[in-house]
C-alpha cells in the first residue's frame, strides 16, 4: 500500500528551480532514506509534503490525499521532526511537547513519559537554556509520543550524541515494526544504511538514484588492501579497478562490485599473503556521485578511501 507518492514534483522560487520532477514512493511499513548534499532540495521536498510550500507543478499525495488541500487531515496521522528546531525561549520543554502532541490530536501519555526518560530530557527547563541536541530531543519526543502512521524526519539526529542517536534509531525501528512508514532525510549514511529499506539520492533538485540498498550496492565498490608474494603489474590495466596505490608489496585499491571476481583471480594467481576488505558503503556511492561533477571531487579523493 502506498502511503506517500510524489509525481513529477517541481518547485520554483522565482527563476530558480529548487526541485525538478521528483518521484518518490513510500509504502506501508517502509523506511525511505532521503539523502543528498546541503541545498540539494531535501528540506524543500519535505516542506512541500507538509503543505507549507505550494508545489509549482506535479503532484504529491499522502494517504492518497493531496498534501496541499488536505494538509490538516493528513497531519493528524503524520509526525514531523525538523532538522533545525527553533522553539519558544520562554516555554519549557514539557509545555512544548504537550502543545505539539495536543495539536496533532492523538496523545499517548505514558509514551511521553517513557520517551522523556529514554532521551534523558529535563522537561522543566525553559527552551532558551536547551542546547541544539536538547531542542532536537523535544521535537523527536513529541513526534514519537503521538500515534502517527507516517513519520517525516528531516535530519533528525543533528546535534544528538551517539548514545541518543542509538535511542533514536530504536524508535525508528519500533515504528517500522509497528507497520508505520518513515521518510528519513539524513546526512549520516551509516544511519541510513542501518535503518532504510529504500534510498533516494537527490542532487541539485533532481532525484539521481533510487532503489533498495541491495540494488544500489551494484553501483558500489569494495575497498581492498592486499599483499602478494609476486608483484601484480596487470592490475593497473584491469577494468573496474580504481585509485590504485602501491607501497612496497602492499596494494590498496577499489573494485567495482561486479568486477570483483576476475580481479580476485588475478591476485590469487600471484599468491595472496594478506587481504583486508571493507564492504561497499553508501558513502562510496554517494561520493562517486559527487565526483562526476567535480564539485566534491576533493572530498571524494580525501581520507575516506
Amino acid at each position: 500500500m502506498t502511503i506517500l507518492r510524489t509525481t513529477n514534483l517541481t518547485k520554483s522560487f522565482g527563476s530558480f528551480t529548487a526541485l525538478n520532477g521528483i518521484n518518490i514512493e513510500v509504502n506501508k511499513g517502509e523506511v525511505y532514506g532521503f539523502i543528498g548534499p546541503n541545498g540539494a532540495g531535501k528540506s524543500t521536498t519535505i516542506r512541500l509534503l507538509l503543505g507549507i510550500l505550494k508545489a509549482t507543478s506535479g503532484e504529491a499525495t499522502i494517504f492518497g490525499r493531496d498534501v496541499w488541500k488536505d494538509a490538516v487531515d493528513i497531519h493528524k496521522r503524520l509526525a514531523y521532526v525538523p532538522g533545525d528546531v527553533n522553539l519558544w525561549p520562554n516555554l519549557t520543554g514539557g509545555e512544548v511537547i504537550d502543545l505539539f502532541v495536543k495539536l496533532r490530536g492523538t496523545a499517548n501519555k505514558s509514551r511521553r513519559e517513557e520517551l522523556i526518560e529514554r532521551f534523558d530530557l529535563d522537561p522543566s527547563k525553559k527552551c532558551r537554556t536547551y542546547s541544539k541536541g536538547n531542542r532536537q530531543k523535544v521535537a523527536i519526543i513529541s513526534a514519537f509520543s503521538s500515534d502517527a502512521d507516517l513519520y517525516i524526519l528531516d535530519e533528525p539526529t543533528s546535534g544528538l550524541d551517539p548514545l541518543m542517536e542509538l535511542v533514536f534509531q530504536e524508535c525508528v525501528m519500533e515504528a517500522k515494526q509497528a507497520g508505520k512508514s518513515v521518510l528519513l532525510s539524513s546526512h549520516i549514511l551509516s544511519e541510513v544504511e542501518r535503518l532504510c529499506d529504500k534510498v533516494g539520492i537527490i542532487r541539485e533538485g533532481r532525484l539521481i538514484e533510487t532503489g533498495t540498498l541491495a540494488e544500489l550496492r551494484h553501483l558500489t565498490r569494495t575497498s581492498l588492501r592486499v599483499e602478494t608474494r609476486l608483484p601484480v603489474p596487470a592490475l593497473r590495466e584491469m577494468k573496474g579497478v580504481h585509485d590504485l596505490e602501491e607501497d612496497g608489496l602492499g596494494l590498496s585499491f577499489q573494485v567495482d562490485s561486479e568486477e570483483l571476481e576476475p580481479v580476485m583471480a588475478v591476485l590469487s594467481a600471484q599468491g595472496i599473503v594478506k587481504l583486508e576488505s571493507a564492504p561497499p558503503t553508501l558513502e562510496d556511492l554517494f561520493m562517486r556521485h559527487y565526483e562526476g561533477t567535480g564539485q566534491a571531487s576533493q572530498a571524494g579523493s580525501g581520507g575516506v578511501r
Binding site: Y80, L87, W88, T92, E95, D98, L103
Partner: protein
C-alpha cells in the same frame, strides 16, 4: 594578578566599538538631537517671559511633579530652567535604557549565545570582557555628556550658559554610568539576557517611581533614587555639581561590585537561582490561540498598563487646563468656544486621535508577531501538525482586534478616571469612552491592512508601520503644517468622528468597520494560498 585578569581589555574595547559602530552613534545622536530640538523649540513656543511664567504655573501640580520632577526656579522660569525641569529627567531615563541595552548585549547576551566562551578560550583575562564593556559604557556616556553640554551651549540660547550646559550633559552621563554599572551587576545575578534586561529596567523604573513619590510628598525619598540625584543638580538655576559627581562615584563603586561578582562565578552561571518551570502545559496553552496569547502575554500586559497610565497622565493635565482656563480671563476672551462645548471637550477629539494611534502599536505588534514567528521557523511546528492556516492566523487576528479594543478602552478609562479626579465639573466617563470608541474602526482598519499584507504580500508587511507613521504625521501635524485635505484623508483616522464635539457619523463608522473586517477576511483567505518561508 590584576593585569592578567584584564589582559587584552584594550583589544576587546576596540572589538565592542567595532560591533556597535552604528548602534552607539545612533543612540548618541538621537538623544543629543532630541535635546537640541526641544531647546530650540522652547524659544519659539514661549517667546516672552510672561508666556514662560504661565507655563510655570501649569507645572505647579502633583501630576507634573510626578512626571517630570520637582520644579525649581519657577519664579524666574528661564529657557534653561524650563529645559532642565521638563526634559532632563525624561531624557535621563532614555540614557539609562541606552546603557542597559548596550551592557546587556555585550555581557549576558554574548554569554548566553556562547560567544563569550570563544573569547574566554583566547588569551584574555577573566575580567577583560566585562571590563571592556564597562569601559565602553562609561566612555559612551562621557562622550554623550560632552556632546550634549557643548552642543547646548553652542545653541546660544539666553540663560543656557556653558557651565549649566556642561552640567546638563554631565547629568546624562552620570545617570548613564549608573545604569551601566547596574546592568553589569544584573548580568552577574541573572543567568540570561532577558533576565538581565528585566532586572535593570526594573531598577530604572523603581528609581523613577521612588523619585516621583519623593518629589510629590516632599519627603527625603527622592534621595534613594539616582534619578533624584541628577535632578537635584538644579541645572541652569543653581548648578550644583556634587549630586552629579556623587552619581558617577557610586556608578564606579557599583562597577567594582560587578567585577567582584564576575570574578567569583562560573561562566553561564548566575547568582539568582533559575527556578524549574512547568513540566506540563496548562490547558490554556494547548491551541494556536492559547500559544499566541501566551507568547505575547507579558508584552500585552505591559502595553495595557502603559495605555492606562498614558490615559491617566493626559487626564491629569486636563484638570490643570480646566483650572487654568477658569482662572484666566484673558484666555476666555481670546478663545471663543464652540457653542455648547467647553474648551476641554474641544480638546478631547485631538487627544483621542493621538491615543488611538498609539493604541494601534500594540495591536499591530500582536498581528505582526505571526510574521516574527514565521521568520523564526516556528509556525512550521504548528502547520506540520493538525493546525490549519485559518486556525493559526485566525488566532492572531482575534488577539490583535481584541488588543486594539482593550488598549483603547483602557486608555479612555485612565483618561476619564484621572480627569474626573482633577476636574471641578467632571465630564462623564461615558463621554470619554464614546470618543475613544469612535476611533476603533480606524484602528481596526490598520490591523485589517496588516492581515491583508500577510496574506498576499508577506514580504512587505512592514509597510503597515510606515502607513501608521504617515497617519500620525498627517493627523497630528497636518493642521499645523497645513497639509491639503486629500493627504490627511488617506489615513483612516481622518475619517473617524471627533466626539463629543462632532456628531457621530454612523455611515463612515460602519464603512470603516466593513473595510477593516473585509481586509482581514481577504488576508485570511489569501494566507491559505501562500508559501510559508522562514
Amino acid at each position: 594578578m590584576l593585569t592578567s585578569l584584564s589582559h587584552r581589555t584594550g583589544q576587546l574595547v576596540r572589538f565592542i566599538i567595532r560591533r556597535d559602530r552604528v548602534r552607539i552613534p545612533v543612540w548618541l545622536l538621537g538623544i543629543a538631537a532630541l535635546t537640541f530640538i526641544v531647546a530650540q523649540a522652547f524659544t519659539g513656543l514661549y517667546a516672552t517671559a510672561q508666556e514662560r511664567q504661565t507655563m510655570a504655573e501649569t507645572m505647579l501640580n502633583p501630576a507634573m511633579t510626578a512626571m517630570v520632577g520637582k520644579g525649581y526656579g519657577l519664579d524666574n522660569y528661564t529657557f534653561g530652567a524650563m529645559m532642565a525641569h521638563q526634559m532632563l529627567l525624561m531624557t535621563a531615563v532614555a540614557v539609562g535604557i541606552m546603557s542597559i541595552m548596550l551592557v546587556a548585549r555585550h555581557t549576558r547576551a554574548d554569554e548566553e549565545e556562547g560567544r563569550m566562551e570563544l573569547i574566554r578560550s583566547l588569551p584574555v583575562g577573566r575580567l577583560s570582557s566585562l571590563h571592556a564593556t564597562v569601559v565602553v559604557g562609561f566612555g559612551t556616556n562621557i562622550v554623550l555628556a560632552l556632546l550634549v553640554g557643548i552642543g547646548l551651549s553652542a545653541l546660544g540660547i539666553a540663560s543656557m550658559d556653558l557651565e549649566g550646559s556642561l552640567l546638563y550633559g554631565a547629568a546624562f552621563g552620570a545617570a548613564g554610568m549608573f545604569f551601566t554599572s547596574v546592568t553589569a551587576i544584573a548580568a552577574q545575578l541573572s543567568a540570561n539576557a532577558r533576565g538581565t534586561i528585566g532586572l535593570s529596567i526594573t531598577v530604572l523604573l523603581l528609581a523613577y517611581l521612588v523619585r516621583a513619590v519623593g518629589d510629590v510628598t516632599g519627603s527625603g525619598l527622592s534621595w534613594l533614587s539616582p534619578l533624584g540625584w541628577v535632578a537635584s543638580a538644579e541645572v541652569y538655576v543653581n548648578n550644583y555639581w556634587w549630586p552629579v559627581a556623587l552619581t558617577a562615584a557610586v556608578a564606579i563603586g557599583l562597577a567594582a561590585v560587578a567585577y567582584v561578582l564576575h570574578a567569583k562565578r562560573d561562566l553561564d552561571a548566575g547568582f539568582l537561582p533559575a527556578k524549574p518551570g512547568r513540566t506540563r502545559a496548562s490547558k490554556f496553552l494547548l491551541s494556536p490561540l492559547g500559544l499566541g496569547l501566551r507568547l505575547q502575554r507579558t508584552g500585552l500586559v505591559a502595553w495595557a498598563i502603559g495605555m492606562l497610565v498614558l490615559g491617566a497622565s493626559y487626564g491629569s493635565v486636563l484638570g490643570d487646563l480646566d483650572a487654568f482656563m477658569a482662572d484666566n480671563e484673558m484666555l476666555k476672551e481670546v478663545l471663543t468656544p464652540v457653542e455648547g462645548y467647553s474648551l476641554i471637550e474641544q480638546f478631547i477629539p485631538f487627544l483621542m486621535i493621538i491615543i488611538a494611534i498609539i493604541c494601534t502599536v500594540p495591536a499591530l505588534m500582536a498581528i505582526m508577531k505571526l510574521r516574527v514567528e514565521e521568520k523564526k521557523n516556528r509556525t512550521e511546528h504548528l502547520f506540520s501538525r493538525a493546525a490549519s492556516r485559518i486556525r493559526v492566523i485566525g488566532g492572531y487576528v482575534v488577539i490583535a482586534f481584541t488588543a486594539g479594543w482593550a488598549m483603547l478602552s483602557l486608555a479612555a478609562l485612565g483618561l476619564g478616571l484621572a480627569a474626573a479626579g482633577v476636574m471641578e465639573e467632571p465630564i462623564p466617563l461615558g463621554t470619554f469612552y464614546q470618543a475613544a470608541m469612535a476611533y476603533l474602526p480606524a484602528l481596526w482598519v490598520m490591523i485589517g491592512l496588516a492581515v491583508f499584507l500577510i496574506g498576499f504580500l508577506p514580504s512587505v508587511t512592514g509597510l503597515v508601520w510606515a502607513y501608521l507613521g504617515f497617519s500620525f504625521i498627517v493627523v497630528y501635524l497636518g493642521g499645523l503644517l497645513q497639509f491639503p485635505a486629500w493627504l490627511s484623508n488617506l489615513s483612516p483616522f481622518a475619517h473617524a468622528s471627533g466626539l463629543p464635539v462632532e456628531e457621530m457619523a454612523y455611515g463612515k463608522f460602519f464603512l470603516l468597520l466593513v473595510i477593516a473586517v473585509g481586509l482581514a477576511v481577504l488576508g485570511i483567505l489569501g494566507d491559505r494560498n501562500r508559501d510559508i518561508r522562514g
